[in-house]
């Protein structure tokens, strides 16, 4: 049953050194505040997982939280590269990072398989690409009916999944809406689940496109208003597109990056004033 906790306590409770941590959110509902808390708590050696790692992953990688990244597409959407990710991959700064890359469909089906209690997922894909040779977690199998060869990917069970949602009620039941991506599957795939929310409400009111996570599949709920900034939360905040553009300049050099982290992450009071 979900406990409602402060973000700091919740992150301390669920994210341990060396954990496999999925932090999902497909361009929307990105748990940025939770990522910053992980930086503040100085977690190291994490395997970070996300379909679309963007600037909060760039920040965690630049601060040395991650030793491995499992992903589908890592970039600054509509802007360009993630310079901290590139620095880690190209120059090993601040530490080398191992990459395990998939197509979105491949990684998605790893979550789906795990959520479904199956050891693997099946998809049409990967054959003929260099991904297949680079990624040992992709295998092939034959359809027992048609003989066709298909790709198999292993279920991915994160130690922790962190997602952001609009609301929880006082019992820890969670409601999100808008683009919900692979949030439900990533949560159901994990051993522990932390959901940051915009607010706690007395009663959840279902909305079109709403996705509910009952409190018995959630471990912690933490209130983090505007916790997706500079991403957005439908019904609560808009995307700050300029902040994504600014990130490109901030993140190009190590010193401007470290200064920014110091000002905007390590001093939590100024966290969302960029």
């Amino acid at each position: 049953m979900a406990e409602i906790e402060s973000l700091a306590n919740a992150v301390a409770a669920v994210v341990h050194e060396g954990d496999c941590v999925a932090i999902e959110g497909f361009t929307h509902l990105i748990p940025v505040a939770a990522g910053h808390e992980i930086i503040r708590q100085g977690r190291k050696g994490l395997t970070l997982v996300r379909l679309t790692p963007d600037i909060v992953f760039d920040q965690m990688i630049g601060m040395g939280c991650a030793s491995k990244l499992v992903f589908g597409w890592g970039g600054n959407p509509g802007v360009g590269s993630l310079h901290r990710l590139r620095d880690a991959v190209e120059n090993g700064w601040p530490n080398p990072i191992e990459l395990e890359e998939h197509s979105h469909a491949g990684l998605t089906n790893r979550f789906v398989a795990a959520a479904s209690g199956l050891p693997f997922g099946v998809l049409r894909g990967y054959f003929g690409t260099s991904l297949m040779g680079r990624n040992e977690s992709i295998k092939q199998l034959n359809c027992p009916f048609t003989g066709e060869t298909l790709a198999a990917v292993p279920a991915l069970h994160p130690d922790v999944t962190i997602i952001h949602a609009q609301q929880a009620d006082r019992h820890g039941n969670v409601l999100m809406w808008g683009i919900t991506g692979v949030n439900k599957e990533a949560a159901l795939a994990a051993s522990r689940v932390l959901v940051t929310v915009e607010e706690i409400v007395n009663k959840l009111t279902l909305v079109p496109g709403g996705v509910v996570l009952p409190n018995w599949v959630v471990d912690y709920v933490a209130v983090a208003p505007r916790g997706t900034y500079p991403s957005y939360t439908t019904g609560y905040s808009d995307r700050d597109n300029d902040a994504y553009v600014r990130w490109d300049a901030i993140s190009r050099e190590r010193d401007t990056f470290l200064t920014w982290i110091d000002e905007h992450v390590m001093s939590p009071t100024t966290e969302r004033s960029s």
Binding site: G74, L82, E90, A105, N109
Partner: protein, 264 residues
């Protein structure tokens, strides 16, 4: 006289449009009468919305964030733009988009771009240089491999130069025609592959026999030699090499209106 387009890029001095405009217009024309299009952000999204504005108002746009039938009134800045969700016929989960809609074979046309393309339309969006010690680490595959595999046809938008057109990809992120005819079937890919490549210089289509990309048309103001010079291999040229019509007044006006919506 040099004109500057609404996007701030330098024009080619002929009639108020530049080569990117021409690419977008050519791409929008390729959607004439199509039903369902899988769209990425950037030129593809602009082209698809130009098609909606100009000649195919009912074109169904699908973005991989899960928005089906998005009808944005302004150009989205990311595939997860709130405007897409707000205007969509329905928003579904990412597993559903990839499994039911894309892999299910329901999408007619997919748009792709990449950092590198080879003569068989294979694409690299993963890495420049050696994988383990890259010169440039690019964002990676995302939805591209499955878009290329499952859409009934794929249109590639890519500028034509020695940087982008390469003899050998540093990494094959996405399969076009593999090493030629028959490879798609061998890999179990169900769509027809990249039936059209639109560059800033003209159009290429796969050879019916070999699947090698063949220049079939040049954009206005482009000479064949420009295309040959921009291609590191001996470019195949169609015997009946055509000429793209320049953007019409309507196309340009619609494009300008669209681009003007792309505020920050």
């Amino acid at each position: 006289m040099t004109t500057v387009s609404a996007t701030g890029r330098e024009g080619d001095g002929t009639s108020g449009y530049d080569r990117d405009d021409m690419m977008i217009v050519a791409a929008s024309r390729a959607l004439l009468g199509r039903k369902v299009c899988f769209v990425g952000i950037g030129l593809p999204s602009t082209a698809a919305n130009l098609a909606r504005a100009t000649h195919t108002p009912d074109l169904v746009l699908i973005y991989e964030s899960g928005t089906i039938g998005a009808k944005p009134s302004r150009l989205p800045l990311s595939i997860g733009d709130g405007e897409l969700a707000l205007t969509a016929d329905t928003v579904v989960s990412v597993p559903e988009i990839f499994n039911y809609w894309l892999q299910g074979g329901r999408v007619e046309v997919g748009f792709l771009s990449a950092a590198q393309m080879d003569r068989y339309g294979n694409l690299n969006s993963t890495v420049i240089g050696d994988y383990d010690h890259p010169t440039v680490r690019l964002p990676g595959a995302g939805g591209a491999p499955e878009i290329a595999g499952s859409c009934r046809e794929v249109i590639v938008l890519i500028r034509q130069s020695h940087r982008t057109f390469v003899e050998d990809l540093d990494f094959r992120t996405t399969v076009g025609f593999g090493d030629g005819s028959g490879d798609r079937e061998r890999f179990g890919l169900r769509g027809a592959g990249p039936t059209l490549v639109i560059t800033d210089l003209g159009l290429l289509r796969p050879d019916e026999q070999t699947c090698e990309l063949t220049m079939t048309a040049l954009h206005p103001g482009v000479e064949l030699q420009d295309a040959l010079d921009a291609t590191p291999w001996k470019l195949k040229v169609a015997p009946d090499l055509g000429r793209t019509d320049p953007p019409s007044e309507t196309e340009l006006a619609n494009l300008r209106s669209l681009l003007a919506t792309q505020g920050r």
